[in-house]
Structure formats: C-alpha cells, structure tokens
Subunit: 408 residues, 2 copies
C-alpha cells in the first residue's frame, strides 16, 4: 500500500560528513522491490559504541546479540536490513545474523563482535542468508553515499526520510554529530520498528558513551509513543570514531562533557520527534509537559499514560479540549497525584486548576490552539517537583485504515 | 449523538424479583432530556454489602465515600445518578453526595453510611443539589419498577440495556442473584463509566461477601478492557438481603459457599461481557486465553497487554490473523516469557508454536474463524502453570468516529 507523506514531515537536513564514518548501500532484495534495502556503515578502527534496546521479552536475535556486543564497547561496522525483521524465527534467525557478522568481520579483518546488525520488516520469516550474503558483497564494493541515501535505505513504511545533526565545542575541538532513524509506529501487516543511529567524530570512552546515551535516551526515545505498542527490535546505537582528536571524554568532570551531552541530547530529541511526526495516521504533534510530580520517573509515567490514552488522542484529533480525559489518564497512571491539586492546560491556557474547572476559563484561545498542528498539554500534579515532557501524535481514522483495512 | 445498537448486543433477560429489593426510578433531569435518570433501590434492614472500586488516583467523591461505607458492610439504599458524574468537582461535589445520603437516610430512618451513591456522565460540573433533591423526592414515592427499567435508567451512552441473573442451591435453600450494569468504554465528550450492581436474597456475612466479590472481580470485571482507559468512577456493589433464610454464609467451609460463589462468578462474568459487547465501535467480541504463564497474575497481565494493543485490536477488526502483533504484545507486557517457547493460535488452530511459525499452518480455518463475531485467541507462554482469560473488543473506525468526530 502507498502511504501519503505525513503532514507533519520535515525536509531532510544538510548533514556534514563525520570523519571515520563511511556509508554504503546495496540491494539485497529482501522483498520483491527494486530499492536499496541494505545499509553498510564502515567505522574506523578504535570506534567506541553504546546502545539502548527494546525491553521486549520477545526481542529479536539482533537485539540479543547487539546488547552483548555493546557491552564490549567497540565497533567497526553496522549492517541494517530492511524488509525482514528476522524476529520470531528461532535458531535459524540467529544463524543468519551470525553469518552476516562473520562475513563483514572477515572483510574488515576485525572481530565479529564489532559488527552490529539490525533488521526491520516482516516477522516470522528467517532472514534469507543467500540474499544477505549477496547484498553485503555488493555493499562492500559500493561507492560511498550520503546521509539521505543511507537514511532512506533503512526505511520500511516510513513516509519520509529522517535525519538530524548537531555540533559541540569541546575545550579545543569542535565535534560533529549526525544521525538517522526509521519508524512510524507499527505498520500492517507486521510491526514496524524504531531503529536509530548516531555517529560522532568525538573521542569518548565506551563506558561514558553508554552512560550519556542511556541518560539521553531516558529524556528522548523513552518519552515518545505512537500507539503504546513496543517493537521486538527497537534499537538505538551511538558510535564515536574519535577522529576529532579531542582528549577522550571519560566523565562528567571532563572539559566539554556537558557540551557534548547537550548536543547528543538535542540530536536524540530531534530524531525521536521525527518518529512521532511519522506516526501512523498522525495529523497533530502533541507535547505533554508534566510538572509537580513526586519525581521525574513518576512525571514521565503520567505523561506516557496521557500520551497513550486513546481517549486523549482522539480528543486532540477532534480538536476537543477535553481535560476530563486528561484527568482520567492521570488517575489511571497509578502514580502519586491529588485530585484536588491537579491543574490542566492547553496551549498555555489553564482549563482547570486545583481540581476544578476554572470559573473564568476562556475556551476560545484553546480552541484556536487545537486547530493547529503542534499541540501542547500542560499538567501540574501539585504533589512535588518532578517533571518530564513526552511526545505523541493524535489517533485518527488514518491509524485504523493503515492497521485494519489493508491486508498483506 | 445517536449511536446505533451494538451488533454484539444481547436481549435483556427475564430476571426474577429478589426478596428485600425494591426498585424505583425518577426524572432528576440532570441533562436536558426527558428520561428517567435517577435510580433508587431500597434494601430491607439487615442487608449486607460489598464493593469494588476504580483504582484511579483521581476517583470521584462517590467512590471515596463508597469505599468507606462498604467497609462498614451494611446497606439500606442505592442511588444512581445518570448524566452527571460529579467527578473533578472538589468540595461542592462531595457536598452533593452527602446531601443525597442524608435525604435518603432521613426517609428510611437509617444511618447515612447505609446509603450508597453512584454518578455517571459529564465531569467537572458539581451534581446540582436541587435536581438531586427533587429527583429523590419523586423516587421515594414512585411505584416500584422492574429490572429492565432500573437498568435502563442508569445508562448513559450505552447502546443496549444490560442485565443478568443466576441462582444457586445452598444446603436447604435456593437463592437468587440479579444484576445490571452500564458502560461501553469511554464516550465523547466525557468519560463513560462502568457501574454494576448485583443483588441476592442469600444471607452472607459482610466480610465473606467482600471476600467473594473481590475474588470474582479478579476473574471478571478486572479481566475486561475496551480501550485501556479507566474511569474515575468505576464501581461494582453486591447487596445480600438475607431474605432467603439460609444460615448466613461466613466462610468457604460453609455448606453452599462454593455453589453461591459459582453463581456469583457467573453473573459477574456475564455482566462484564455485556460491557465489552457494548464497547465503542465494537464489531467483534474477543476472548484471549493465556496459559503457561509464571502465575495467574502474570497471565492476566499478558492477556490485558494483548487486549489493549491497538495493533492486535485493529488486526482483528480487519480479519487478519496477525500473530506477529500478538508476539509484540506479549513482549511488551514485561512478564516472564520465552520467545522460543511461545505458541499462538486463533479459533483453536495454532499458527505458531515454540517461537516459530508452524510449517504446516493452514490459514483457511483461521480466516473463516476471524470472519465471525466471536473471536478466540490462545497464547501459551511455555514457562509455568499460570492461566487467565480476558475479554475485549476490536478497534474500528466506529471508535474514532465516536471519540474524535463528534463534539458536545
């Protein structure tokens, strides 16, 4: 099925090259299509890596292996297969991943544990080893390509190609960050997946790289939701080639660590937002800011309960400032909250304060705000200092059409 | 807006009278409508009561008070207001409930704590005290009515009236149970609510009555979901008048306790199913049986993760035996599961076993099963002996239409 480009799409930005990173793409033809569906990223020796992965109890072999590999902290290559997720395929799926790791490691003369593999697409069908092998052979000798081509090749049902960049000034060195991502919720007939990759020329020790990625993830990728459904393959990897020549960052006390983290946080947030902007059927981008919670984790939990509520999401789709549904979602989150201290606003206008509708509540500016594409919901729980911001999209007929009306 | 009667509706059954229970209805006109919207149930002196309530952190005053009253174990009356939920109304909402309790207690010469109040409908508007007072005055002198009239008067956006009955033979006595319920998910522009009431002429000690209701609730009302959104007012009350004259049941060892519990479980299950059958936009009734879980609670959690997954619900709406989405939902539940032992079936046919699609999987009988209205999904986790069954409905364009397209 052909999906229309999301009305919330962003143009692909200009992204500079990252020293130590070479991008190549090829046709493995995992499905009956004529497009590049295998992305090969070669990383210079000494590249550090960190990763965050789905918490699904039914994760794919790629995730199981990637989690182990990320602990070792070193990477020389990344292979992304699009069109077949290789999930729920038992030992045959694992064999296919191990074959890819061995093939690339042999070509680069590195350890197989330094070759990271991700797959996205149809589930229940073992990744065909012959197609993977031929695709990698082609990729190894392909001419290098740019960011947009690589970002496009990892896409499946995405309606636009997603990338972002950032830079930071460390003590003596300017470092660059670049990244791309795919994902748009979960697409019929098979689950889609969020796969994101960020590359930097900064030198960062692997353990600290992991610490920063885990922290940034908590405030970005872990704060978005399209439909509350979690893929078995979600993966974000961060590679640091060290080519910028800065003294390797190894703790928050190092000069430039804060600047680097700020840039990392920014690029992760932008990539996360792009996934929401391609949410299935999305017509509106929704930011939900929760304050006054018991702590930050509690605030995020409440925010995600609101963001995942079908009633809140349909209300926004209908342009309805239905704060009652927000109350309901706060209540069901199971976090500390006080009904009589709860305040709720839309687009900067409070609709209810301290557990009661405002007597002088003027719905006009709120109605106007809800006509727009970028919606803001403020929720103050009134019980503490915890705060978090989460992002989601609205729930529309488009979501049902994509997921129920079409068959494979 | 006028909603079409659910295609999954059941006709209202013949329900015998329960000795000690008198039903009356009246017009309080909580909204601008000409219908009975106040239900008054008078219970004979000595009636025992038990209750289960929403876990929402933003529960209504009715729920806060009802929870305290149920602990005392005695009831003389029930008032149900339809059209105004009195939720999120601060101290003024509480005053309205206390006024109702005082007014009925005065008429019956009982303690206010023996008067139970429920409200459902618009939120954020304090229940108008004058309308409640006049409505109760009318109800107190109204002629007794039958079950269907009472069940109809508590409805809000329900598309059909819901009731059930059961009986049990204790050692020497036959006892009757009758109940009615309202709820259909959450309806624009305000949350709907599940309110259920069961009445019996059996004599049961309040503490044991509560124990049995809590247990039955775990396997029935707590095992249904329409959209995963939880009302601030959900309430189920069980009243036992004792008029059957049996020696009061007070423990599981008593003769007839098991028979009574079986009847109670049956009527609670039937009432719970009726709510799902009126789920917003529902076209199919879905039963999800989870086996092989670590324990029963884990099985229920996995079952509800599947039942609440928009991707599973849309797949069933589209007649798509998409076991990959079931895998995804199992994975995200966060319960013990083993990807390589997981088995999934539809309508009695296994599609995947031990973590892999079945080689000889025949989709024909499954496709035929999915064309029907009553859908069965089997999931075996392969890690233990825990089991649970949950119920939900599909997610259709009707849900979006009801919740996004219409405004109040």
């Amino acid at each position: 099925m052909d999906l229309e480009r999301s009305p919330l799409a962003r143009p692909f930005p200009d992204i500079p090259q990252i020293d130590g990173v070479t991008l190549r793409i090829a046709r493995a033809r995992y499905k009956a299509w004529d497009r590049c569906d295998l992305t090969y990223v070669e990383l210079c020796p000494g590249t550090a890596v960190a990763g965050v992965f789905t918490r699904s109890a039914c994760a794919s072999s790629e995730v199981d292996l990637g989690r182990e590999q990320a602990r070792l902290g070193r990477a020389r290559a990344l292979i992304v297969n699009a069109g077949n997720s290789n999930a729920f395929t038992g030992y045959r799926g694992r064999e296919a991943v191990e074959q890819i790791m061995a093939q690339v490691a042999s070509a680069l003369d590195c350890d197989p544990s330094e070759v990271f593999v991700s797959s996205t697409g149809v589930i229940g069908v073992p990744l065909p080893k012959d197609k993977a092998q031929a695709g990698i052979e082609a990729a190894l000798i392909a001419a290098p390509c740019g960011w947009e081509d690589a970002a496009s090749a990892i896409g499946t049902t995405d309606t636009f190609t997603k990338g972002a960049s950032a830079s930071a000034m460390l003590a003596e060195n300017r470092v660059e960050l670049a990244g791309f991502i795919k994902g748009s919720g979960m697409i019929a007939p098979d689950m889609a997946t969020m796969l994101g990759y960020v590359f930097t020329d900064a030198a960062v020790d692997p353990a600290f790289l992991q610490e920063m990625l885990s922290k940034a993830n908590e405030a970005t990728f872990s704060c978005i939701t399209v439909d509350g459904d979690t893929s078995t393959s979600d993966t974000v990897l961060l590679f640091a080639t060290g080519k910028a020549g800065n003294p390797a960052l190894s703790s928050w006390d190092d000069d430039g660590a804060d600047a680097f983290y700020a840039a990392l946080l920014g690029i992760c947030r932008e990539l996360a937002h792009l996934v929401v902007r391609d949410g299935e059927g999305a017509q509106k981008f929704i930011e939900i800011a929760v304050t006054g919670a018991a702590d930050a984790a509690s605030a995020r939990h409440v925010g995600l309960a609101i963001a995942n509520s079908p009633l809140v999401k349909t209300a926004i789709a209908g342009g309805d400032a239905n704060w009652g549904r927000v109350v309901m979602a706060v209540g069901k989150a199971g976090e500390p909250a006080d009904r009589d201290r709860l305040s709720i606003g839309f687009g900067g206008t409070w609709a209810a304060k301290d557990g009661q509708p405002l007597a002088d509540y003027d719905e006009a500016p709120v109605a106007k705000h809800l006509e727009g594409q970028d919606i803001r919901i403020d929720v103050d729980l009134g019980v503490g200092d915890g705060r978090a911001t989460v992002w989601t999209c609205d729930l529309t007929h488009g979501y049902i059409s994509i997921n129920a009306d079409y068959r494979s």
